[in-house]
Symmetry: C2
Subunit: 256 residues, 2 copies
């Protein structure tokens, strides 16, 4: 392979997505930045025994300084922001001293990610041209790939949202062809009931711990997941609501 790769620049920060968990779903850019960083910040949820991001990148760690940062799993904006503001100070100290710092994050740093909070604080401490983001494969993409089921075609609309608010989900089902739900958590049965009510349970798929070695579970039949409440955790739900074809929706100003 002769692909040209850029190493970390001294005095720069990189928020790097590492994909859903399998080490080989990391991009070449992400892998090279992690390997060439002086410091790697690894987030760990206070509920997890180990950092999923660290498990994913373990084979890329050698001489780098690794800082594991435990973050709260509470839905509390003030607490979340203050936690990441502390990390931002640690990052800024190193970056100002000419070191390169990578924060790794499961999935994509711009999709429901702790990186957003860290970057928010960092923009007050570092010049914006020293802050970089590298995209990563998000769990919904890995799930669709494993299912071998397209997410969108032609004029389809895809909506992605957390599965916390059943009324909001019922609303979304009316305005998209594909619905992606994250963070189902303890609401798996509630969600199943809602989908059944909309006659969409047969079009719903559930993936738990997708691309995480030894823990992955894929349910093509949503009903099979309902035997165990734990299947709502680290999960992605994809509901294929319908489809909008080219023929039904010619573009504005174009003849069908």
């Amino acid at each position: 392979m002769h692909i040209k790769l850029k190493n970390c620049q001294p005095g720069h920060f990189y928020a790097v997505g590492v994909g859903p968990g399998s080490p080989d779903l990391i991009t070449l850019r992400a892998a090279n930045l992690i390997q060439s960083a002086d410091t790697v910040i690894v987030p760990r949820s206070e509920l997890a025994g180990e950092s999923l991001a660290l498990v994913t990148i373990r084979d890329l760690i050698g001489e780098q300084e690794v800082i594991e940062h435990v973050y709260p799993m509470k839905r509390d904006s003030a607490q979340t922001r203050s936690c990441w503001a502390e990390v931002a100070t640690e990052v800024a100290t190193r970056v100002s001293a000419g070191l390169s710092v990578v924060q790794v994050t499961i999935g994509d740093p711009m999709i429901y990610s702790t990186s957003s909070y860290l970057i928010e604080s960092l923009t007050e401490l570092l010049p914006s041209e020293h802050i970089h983001v590298v995209p990563g494969i998000s769990a919904f993409q890995a799930t669709a790939a494993l299912l071998v089921e397209p997410l969108t075609l032609q004029e389809d609309r895809l909506t992605m949202m957390p599965a916390t608010d059943m009324a909001a989900i019922a609303h979304a089902l009316k305005h998209c062809e594909t619905l992606v739900l994250y963070k189902v958590g303890p609401r798996l049965r509630q969600l199943a009931a809602l989908l059944e009510e909309h006659r969409l349970l047969d079009q719903a798929r559930l993936a738990c711990y997708v691309e995480q070695n030894g823990r992955e579970a894929i349910f093509r039949n949503f009903r099979d997941a309902l035997t165990d409440d734990s299947h709502g955790y680290m999960s992605t739900v994809i509901v294929r609501v319908g489809n909008r074809s080219w023929e039904q929706n010619p573009p504005v100003g174009e003849v069908a």
Copy 2:
């Protein structure tokens, strides 16, 4: 790097996403499958002088058979399906003879991709366990990363759709916090007028040819793009409509 990689299996087909265009945004899994394939199918739009996917993976091509397949850019389902049914026959012949075949696709194979049509035809010709999909970075992710602007946080809803139908876009703006639009094409000014009407033009960003060497253009100010109609092509629009916080939206069955 000691990450374990699986080569292509003989007699298997892989639809492989290669990301938006930069060779280093390919995943390790995709790169290794492309390198170990007997045959690589490369799609090229009838309007393009060269295959963007081929440019992206050029450094991964050695002894593999490369088949460039020109596909129609018409919004015609029957013509598109019949074109990919032909390719499916070529693929099935090779796979049945014990060869491994990779079809590469820009972006992600499950998001508005030609791979979906090929897979649709292949499922009639091959056992389903011989058909695999590898996800890729989609242009909206690469765009958000370059902008260093989060797509979703907390309770935000993201909707992704083609920018063909202005009425559908106006509708979507009312039902999400982040709107991602693909395929703006010649409708750039129409879209700008619509966003201005909704007082959202200042929240809109445009990226053309994102992560494509030498051609990339990023517009943080949407108005700057309106000088040139060509900026609607190979483009991604991201509109940050608003935000939904945890505090405003406590989950069902949980105390705020």
